[in-house]
């Protein structure tokens, strides 16, 4: 157990020193890699924000399959459940509305990191998933798969809620 805590301490100190660099592209990943390596075998996983280089699953029928976050709009540490991100399409279906390599906007509909609700409870999902939207916030696809949280209503993503099959 002490080994794990040592690792996390090292990870945190690394991030502290790297925080000063504004141009951190690949380095910011070392933090979540560290936490995952350290905690994976000894304790339960420590889930964090959705940041640059985070792979997300696409859960609509816009054509993309996997998407990599390149920027979290709003939030210094990263995006959470219900936030919008800018992402780059890494994997796409052959005939879809988006192609591989395109830069798109997305709304995070499922996040493994727990989010507090206003009644005091917390909610978390099994994976990180995103629904692609255009700049105005309207979804590109016409269907959404899997459960979505209530939080989207407050963020004014009502269209996604109407397309959803289950609201958690």
């Amino acid at each position: 157990m002490s080994f794990a805590s040592e690792w996390t301490a090292v990870g945190r100190s690394l991030l502290g020193s790297l925080g000063n660099n504004s141009s951190g592209l690949l380095r910011t990943t070392s933090h979540d890699i560290m936490t995952k390596l350290a905690c994976g075998n000894f304790y339960s996983q420590q889930r964090t924000f959705i940041q640059m280089r985070t792979n997300l699953k696409v859960v609509d029928n816009s054509g993309a399959k996997r998407v990599m976050c390149i920027q979290a709009l709003k939030g210094k540490k990263g995006a959470r459940l219900g936030d919008t991100i800018i992402a780059s399409v890494k994997e796409a279906q052959p005939r879809g509305k988006v192609k591989k390599g395109e830069v798109v906007y997305g709304v995070v509909v499922r996040a493994a990191m727990q989010r507090g609700r206003c009644d005091g409870s917390e909610i978390k999902f099994d994976d990180n998933a995103v629904v692609l939207v255009n700049k105005q916030g309207e979804p590109i696809g016409t269907r959404v798969f899997g459960p979505v949280p209530h939080e989207l209503r407050k963020k004014k993503h009502v269209k996604i809620l109407t397309l959803a099959e289950h609201i958690a």
């Binding site: 339960s44 009644d119 005091g120 917390e122 099994d126 899997g146 459960p147 099959e165 958690a168």
Partner: protein
Amino acid sequence: MRLEKCWFCSSTIYPGHGIQFVRNDAKIFRFCRSKCHKNFKMKRNPRKVKWTKAYRRLHGKDMTQDSTFEFERKRNRPERYDRNIAENTLKAIKKIDKVRVDREAKHHALRMKGKKAKEQREAAKELEQSIHMVKAPTALQQEPSFTLPKVKVQVSNPQENRLMEE
């Protein structure tokens, strides 16, 4: 506000407590505390974990069928607020709780029923067999009863009283 049940231990989850986990097949698991959550992540089956209600009900340690449980079933239709009904419901909740606790106590007593006689028999047998641990065999020959011989001890009192008076 709705009081949920913990998926693992079946205790009530009050508002502000616990974590909800939503699986991708849209099944929602609610946990009352991190103990239950961690056990779930370890993929433990609550029916095999001794301290959960699921285990206790399955193995007959707790009551399974009772009319008091019918009152607590989940109702999805919201009812129009009526002050009288609300007042009566609150009174009824107290009464039903009392009745349920009494019935559970009876169930427990019934479960533990044959124990006292069994304990007495075991104690008698042990006394017979292991009396040599407590009373020397020679003393047993002189006085063949299972009680220890009474020894008189002199206690000096007067001085102790004077110390206490101060």
